[in-house]
C-alpha cells in the first residue's frame, strides 16, 4: 500500500536526523582510529624501517590502512545502526520493515567519493610501483629511475661510512641460502650480516632450481634463478635488528625449511665481524670461485663434473 504524504514526510525526517547521527559517529570513530593507525600502530607496522625499502613499504601500508578505515567504519556503523533500529521487535514479526527512499545527493557523494578513492589508489599504487625507494625490483635496478650506484659488480673496498656499496652475492641451493662477500676476500657465510647506514647490492642467483630470496625485514625480495643474476638493492638506516630470510618459491620437499637468519649491525661491528670471518674462512676461500654473476652447473648433472671447461647446454661457464 502506498504511503501517505504524511508518512513520507515522517520517513524523510527520520532519515535526516538519523543520518546526521550516523555521520557523526562514523566521523568521530574514523578520526580516532585513523589517528591511532598513523601515529601509534603505524610505526610498528611491518616490515619496519631497517632499510629505506622497508620504510617505504611501511609507509604504503599506513596509507592503505588510513584510507581503508573510513570505508570499513561506514559499513560497520551503518550496519550497527540498522541492527538496532530496523530489527523486528516482539509482536512485529509480520510487519513490513521501514521503507527507505533513495537520496540522489547521498548516492552522488558516495559514487564520487568511491571513484576518487579508487583512482587515487591506482595513481598512488602506480607511483609506488615504479619509484623503487632504493630497491631493485629483483630484476635489476629500476629501468625508470636510474640508480647508477647499483652496479652488479664490486666497486672497490667497502668501508664504514664510505660511498661504495656493499656487495653480497646470495647463492640459493636446495635447501639453503649462503652469502658471499666479494669485498671481503669472497668469504661465504650461512647467515646474512649487514652494516647500518650503507648501500647494499644483492646479486641473487641459484645453483639448481628456482628459489626466491625474501629478506622480509629489509623489504627486499628477488627471484633466484639458475644462470641468472638478479640485482636487488637497498639502503640500511641507522636501525639495527634481526633479519629472517626465507625462500618464497616452492622449490622441493624442504622448501619450508629453507630459511636462515641474520642481523643489521652497527657499521663498525659489521666490519669487525666481516674481517674476522674473512680470516676464519681463509681455508675455504681459496677454493671458492672468484666473483661471478652466475654459477651454472653443468648439463651433465649428477655424479660430479659440474664445472667442465664447456657446457653442452651452451651456457657460459662463469667459474
Amino acid at each position: 500500500m502506498a504511503l501517505t504524504q504524511q508518512e513520507r514526510e515522517e520517513r524523510k525526517a527520520f532519515a535526516r536526523s538519523k543520518g546526521w547521527q550516523i555521520f557523526a559517529v562514523w566521523f568521530v570513530l574514523t578520526a580516532i582510529v585513523d589517528y591511532l593507525t598513523w601515529f601509534v600502530w603505524g610505526p610498528h607496522m611491518p616490515p619496519g624501517t631497517m632499510t629505506t625499502s622497508a620504510a617505504a613499504q611501511q609507509f604504503d601500508f599506513k596509507i592503505l590502512m588510513v584510507l581503508v578505515v573510513p570505508v570499513l567504519f561506514m559499513v560497520w556503523v551503518y550496519g550497527g545502526f540498522a541492527l538496532v533500529n530496523f530489527r523486528a521487535r516482539k509482536g512485529e514479526e509480520d510487519q513490513d520493515g521501514i521503507v527507505l527512499f533513495g537520496n540522489r545527493k547521498i548516492q552522488g557523494i558516495w559514487y564520487v567519493a568511491s571513484t576518487v578513492l579508487v583512482l587515487g589508489l591506482a595513481v598512488f599504487g602506480t607511483y609506488e610501483l615504479i619509484a623503487n625507494h632504493d630497491m631493485g625490483s629483483g630484476s635489476g635496478p629500476s629501468p625508470i629511475w636510474n640508480y647508477s650506484w647499483a652496479k652488479a659488480t664490486p666497486q672497490g673496498a667497502w668501508t664504514p661510512g664510505g660511498s661504495t656499496p656493499l656487495v653480497v652475492q646470495v647463492i640459493a641451493q636446495q635447501w639453503r641460502f649462503t652469502y658471499r662477500y666479494p669485498q671481503f676476500g669472497g668469504m661465504e657465510t650461512t647467515e646474512l650480516y649487514l652494516p647500518t647506514n650503507a648501500r647494499v647490492v644483492f646479486d641473487v642467483t641459484s645453483l639448481d632450481v628456482i628459489h626466491d630470496f625474501w629478506a622480509y625485514q629489509l623489504g627486499v625480495k628477488a627471484d633466484a634463478n639458475p644462470g641468472v643474476n638478479n640485482v636487488a638493492t637497498t639502503e640500511t638506516t641507522s636501525q639495527t635488528g634481526k633479519i629472517t630470510v626465507r625462500c618464497d618459491e616452492l622449490c622441493g620437499i624442504w622448501h619450508g625449511a629453507m630459511y636462515n637468519y641474520g642481523e643489521v649491525l652497527p657499521a663498525s661491528s659489521f666490519e669487525t665481524w666481516a674481517t674476522n670471518m674473512q680470516a676464519a674462512n681463509a681455508g675455504v676461500t681459496k677454493l671458492l670461485p672468484p666473483f661471478a654473476l652466475t654459477y651454472t652447473p653443468s648439463y651433465s648433472g649428477a655424479g660430479g663434473g659440474y664445472y667442465p671447461s664447456y657446457d653442452p647446454n651452451g651456457h657460459s661457464v662463469a667459474y
Partner: protein
Amino acid sequence: MRLSKGARAGIVLVSAAIAIGLILFGIFGYLRTYPPTVAATPSPTQPNTVDLTLQVEGAVGTGPHPQWVGWYAKDAAGKWVRTTIYQVPEKTYVHVTVYEYDSGGPLRNPYWGKVLGTQGGVEYLNGKPVSVLDAASGNGVAHTIDAPSLGLNIPVWGVNGNAKNFCQQGPCNPSEAHNVITFTFYSGNTTHTYRWQCFIPCGVGYLEGNGGPMAETGYMAGFFKVVA
C-alpha cells in the same frame, strides 16, 4: 528371505564405505611410510658419547629403488639397516663413522667442502684430520651430511669410480674400495628432530641431479632425532 530395498541399499552403502576406507588407509599408510629409526649405541670407551656407524653407496640394492644412491646405518645388533633416520641422546657427543663406497666429483658450491660443526672443526679422513676438502681435485666429494639447524656440514670424500673392487650395490663390505670418515658432534641441550640432507645433487637420471633420491627420506634426506 527377501531383503527390503532399504536393507539392500544399506548393505551396499556400508560395503562401499568400508572399501573406500580400506583404500584410503592403504594410500595414507603408504604415504606415511618412513624408514626405520636406528639408535646410536653408547660408546664402550668414551664417557658421555654414543657411536653411530653409517655407510653410503651409489646403489642401495634393496627396497623400492634398488638403483638409487643411499645410506645404511648399523643397528645395535650389528646389522646394516637402510635408513637415514638416526636417534641420539641430548647433551651427548655423537661419534660418527662413515664408510664411503661411492665415487665423487666437484662440488656445485665448493663452500660445502668445509667441515662445520664438529669437535675441533675437523673430520678424520682415513685417520687424518681435515678441515676442508678440495672437491675439484682427486676423487672429489661424493656426498655431504648437512644438518642446518645443528650447524653441521660433513663432506664425504669419494672413492675412485674405476677401482677394481668398486662396490656395485649395498650393503657394501670393507673388502671393497672405500674411505672411512669419522667425526664427533654435540647433540645439543634440547630434544628436537633435526633434518639433514646431502648437498650434492646426486640423483642420477633426474634433472640436474635433483629429485629422486635427493627428495626421499631413506636415501639422501633424513633426520637426527635428539631425544631425552
